[in-house]
Amino acid sequence: MSAPVAVWGESLELPCPVGGEGGGVAEASSSGVALSGSTLARIREMEAKYPSSRSAVLPALWAVQDELGYLPPWTIEVVAGELKLLPGDVEAVASFYSMYFNHKPGRHVVQVCRNVSCGLRGSDELLGHLQRALGLDAEGNTPDGAFTIEGTVECLGACGGAPMMQVDRYSYENLTPQTALEVLEKIRAEMPAGTGSK
């Protein structure tokens, strides 16, 4: 992991160095990186909404990941501090759920479903083609950092459009190995990829 591990209790309250939208106070790691004011505002808003503030852990981790793309260790401290929990409680949650990352993934996360319905309609061939064409490393990353491709995911609830892949939040369905690659090449070139259902 890249960011240094902050020690419990060391998180600082500093004026927001990046002037996040919330314009409020930012929490910083010992290395000086900080969450934006708007992320902190989101966490506090969540905390107030639930009957118990602990329920805000998952939404808080989502807020952090939406900003940074993953959950560096110091952010666990910040979330714990905000929700008045022990860092271990937050870490236990962050490590349990497969969609929270402890490493920074590529700019786009691609989930290729290989469950039964997709498997029956050619998902393995699709993933194999992407692997070869994109030159993925052992973690499924493309060399240019554009994509992280995951092939061990749950059924993504789009079996009617099998085989499918989800790129970030968008579902691309009824793919062939070729159209899947085309979609990704368009996204890499920041062109509208077209065939997504949402």
Partner: protein
Amino acid sequence: MSDLVLTRHQGAPGLTALAGYEQVGGYRSLRRAIEMGPEAIAAEVKASGLRGRGGAAFPTATKWSFLPKDSFPRYLCVNADESEPGCFKDRVLMEEYPHQLLEGVLIAAFALQVNHAFIYIRGEYRSQRELLERAVQEARQAGYGGPNVLGSGWDCELMVHGGAGAYICGEETALLDSLEGRRGQPRLKPPFPAVKGLYGQPTVVNNVETLSNLPFIVAEGGARYAALGTEASPGTRLFCVSGHVERPGTFEVPMGKTTFRDLLEMAGGVWRGRQFKAMQPGGGSMQILGPQHLDLPLDFKAVADAGSSLGAGALVIMDDSTCLVNVAMRLVDFYRHESCGKCVPCREGTYFESELMHRLEAGLATKAELTNLADICANMDGRCFCPLGDTATWFVMSAYRMFPEEFESHCGAGRCPVREPLAVAV
């Protein structure tokens, strides 16, 4: 009048927005429900014979009746975790009919005298989560949610809560732990959630489809809903058909009166002119059925007698080119990945199962190892802390029993004799 419930407004313009839903009579049932009062609503639900659509098919009215009479606050949790392999109906209900779901949630919340309802939606459904959040905002602004709903003096907060990738969070007690901000691991039952659920308070957990039926039941009456199906299997149900068919999709059909063959035909039949080999009727957790079962009605008992279950309403069709060892391996891998690790038979058993299935698929396993498979599964089924571990054995064992030669022919074959395995590793 059409015989559809969940999809009866299909094609109406702008249904995902409040105005479009109001155009087709939306939220009139909520108004009516508030006039009727909690007991009368529960009576209609009872008359409807509605059974849970999340997988276990527990009668909804009975579940509601377990809430202790005078214990407050109580909570309603909507199970929108939909991650059963082969299942995509709740997604359709949320994407196309979000306000129908919210109206159903509000009717249930009023009937149960709940002031806080949570919709727990799986993390992968990010766009759907945001769509629901917008719908909740709209409903609130129109006075259907929030404080003093429709001037009745009853308050109801609706919150959409996103999961983060864990199949087990669909199990109701794991869902509650996840909602409380913990690792999603099942709790010991009893106490059941109805007595001690979210934050230790009485809680009802109901599936998205279950609740989406309520606006119809309130508007048309429970008896009319029940009559759409048969006495033993009342109402309609949204089935997901996928796999080797020409036109996969969701189809709302009357229960009891429709057969698997009807569903297969609605989906355009087996694709590419091939022959039917087998099907999985209830999602990844359920036992395999063969050609001899195609004429069974979608009836709880008929399917149970055939040794399987309608589960979450997902029908996966497999044609004659399918290697069942390969399919079983995929499912077993899925359970291994999703085992929450709380109990040994499941955590270790799914690992053994999966290692063995990989050797078998690659043609490396011996006949003796295949005998082990039955042993491993026997040590899991019925011995796990929650149903995930039990169900991790059902497809593979039922497929082995129905197609023993197919499993045996893999032993020592050096490769999959049905279908060449592909070298894919991620």
